[in-house]
């Protein structure tokens, strides 16, 4: 297990935002250090597992803790979590994360807006694909739609403004670029992102044992596939939805 790089432990700002919610905020930046703190703090709260804990919602720079009911001692709960965070080990902790490899077909059949991206970026279609597949993206949070991942960080050269008029329906599995962001639609939905590809994986299936393929904190990579491979994976997934776990490996967070 690798040790996490030494970093100063940041004390979050805590605020009670409702009868059952506490918001912890770690600065104002979207960066790796903030992300480490958000993940570590989330893990600490989850492992603490006090009985009033309902769920936590991590985002770029905040962790919101929801309680099952309104406690009589809210201030104590906040104090206890803050002091536990302060005392927890700084340098010895490691984070084991899931690494997902998302197969994406960038064939022209699925890349409806590639010409728009080509025109805007002055890159060739091949360059766009390889720049999109190169990074390992951090899943900062899930929202907007069930299972929709907010990813960081798209190569700046690929940034392309959203469509002027959003499409009425973007199919689930669609991979797109919207401004400085990239993402995957987990459900058929209206959407204004530039469509550049499609994955045969179902990111969200409420009837599957693991309904959500992607979780906040995952590391995610795209891997290009052919139309034939797309069809093959799609039919395999339709027959064996649980086989989606083949696309997950565990690794230590660097």
């Amino acid at each position: 297990m690798k040790k996490m790089s030494k970093q100063r432990k940041q004390q979050p700002e805590a605020m009670v935002t409702g009868e059952k919610s506490i918001r912890f905020k770690f600065g104002d930046q979207v960066d790796q250090e903030t992300y480490f703190h958000v993940m570590q703090f989330s893990n600490m709260v989850e492992q603490d597992g006090f009985y009033l804990l309902e769920i936590i919602v991590p985002t770029y720079n905040t962790v919101t803790v929801y309680l099952k009911k309104e406690p009589s001692n809210m201030a104590e709960i906040v104090e206890r979590l803050l002091s536990k965070w302060q005392k927890s080990e700084e340098t010895e902790s490691t984070l084991s994360v899931r690494k997902l490899t998302i197969p994406v077909c960038y064939d022209e059949e699925f890349s409806l807006d590639i010409e728009r991206v080509v025109a805007h970026t002055n890159l060739t279609a091949n360059d766009i694909i390889s720049l999109h597949c190169q990074p390992i993206y951090t899943v900062y949070m899930i929202g907007f739609l069930p299972g929709f991942p907010y990813l960081g960080k798209l190569d700046e050269r690929l940034a392309t403004p959203r469509l002027h008029t959003p499409r009425f329906r973007v199919e689930k599995g669609t991979v797109g670029i919207g401004g400085h962001q990239t993402g995957i639609y987990p459900l058929d939905s209206p959407g204004g992102w530039n469509i550049i590809g499609k994955t045969p994986l179902d990111l969200y299936r409420p009837d599957r044992k693991e309904p959500f393929f992607i979780q906040a904190g995952d590391q995610l990579g795209f891997s290009p596939i052919t139309k034939e491979e797309y069809a093959e994976i799609k039919s395999q997934m339709d027959k064996h939805p649980e086989a989606i776990s083949e696309f997950v490996t565990m690794s230590d967070l660097l």
Partner: protein
């Protein structure tokens, strides 16, 4: 499973809701559940159900059902001019409906949302642990014409029970609500914040996701854009348009706009029952 209703008219909107779908917000799934938790819980209490029994939530009337089995039910929440075979029926107390009768919700007389709760609750498919319908997330479907709604079990035919009149909530269309402070207040101009708490807002339109308010445009020091963070039922979000939106039971789990605060939970039912044009004033807790 007892066939209870056949949907003849779907009306404005209707869906099955239980207490809600807890524990999936970090995956982007709203909590859902009743818009007016007070009317929902009182209804379950009156008829003696478990508090998580799936119930039918109806918006603004227009719905019509053919009764398929004799059963005991209770109707709570808004007065939607409910009729059984054309004759008015009591709300906030149980009564027995008989096979072949027509139960109709004619118009919103007081409030906007009513609950129909059969003894034992409706049958509902549990998706992610809840029977609450959230169509956008493939979690159930709203009322559809000709659909059959099933009760979980036969009616035991117990005594009729009700709430005494003094306990029945009334649905004022001029309300005041308490607000928990948001961490984003510094993003609004001082004038905007003052204006927010002095203004009487009116409800422009709304659904289970959010209620849009009409009032003066609120200004920001820079803009309303924030790094997206958690939102919940009752969050008052103000997008760059400057017009507040109250996030309701199907609230998105995270949002990218500045918020003013969150409405106190025990005031949310009053907000839910506002009709178009209803008035609302805010003050900090």
């Amino acid at each position: 499973m007892i066939p209870l209703f056949k949907v003849k008219k779907v009306g404005t909107y209707g869906s099955i809701q239980d207490k809600g779908r807890f524990g999936y917000q970090r995956f982007g799934v709203p909590v859902s559940g009743p818009m007016d938790a007070k009317a929902y819980h009182l209804g379950q209490y009156i008829i003696g159900n478990d508090e998580n029994s799936p119930s039918l939530e109806l918006f603004l009337g227009g719905q019509e059902f053919e009764v398929l089995s004799d059963h005991r039910i209770v109707i709570t929440g808004a007065d939607l001019g409910v009729m059984l075979d054309g004759a008015p029926v009591p709300t906030w107390k149980t009564f027995t409906i008989f096979k072949g009768q027509i139960l109709s919700f004619t118009r919103a007389i007081e409030g906007s949302i009513a609950y129909v709760i059969p003894e034992g609750g409706f049958e509902a498919e549990l998706l992610l642990g809840s029977g609450s319908v959230y169509p956008k997330g493939l979690l159930g479907t709203p009322l559809k014409r000709d659909r059959i709604l099933y009760a979980k079990r036969e009616s035991g035919g117990g005594f009729q029970t009700g709430l005494c009149r003094s306990e029945v909530p009334s649905y004022s269309q001029q309300i005041q609500v308490k607000v928990w402070r948001s961490p984003h207040l510094a993003m609004f101009t001082e004038v905007a914040l003052e204006e927010f708490f002095q203004t009487t807002y009116t409800l422009k339109m709304g659904d289970r996701m959010g209620y849009l308010l009409d009032g003066p445009k609120l200004d920001f020091v820079h803009s309303s854009d924030i790094l997206s963070e958690a939102t919940q039922f009752g969050t008052i979000q103000v997008p760059n348009s400057g017009h507040p939106i109250i996030l309701m039971a199907d609230a998105q789990t995270i949002g990218g706009y500045a918020t003013i605060g969150k409405i106190a939970s025990d005031d949310l039912w009053k907000v839910a029952q506002l009709k178009k044009g209803g008035e609302i004033k805010f003050h900090f807790i």
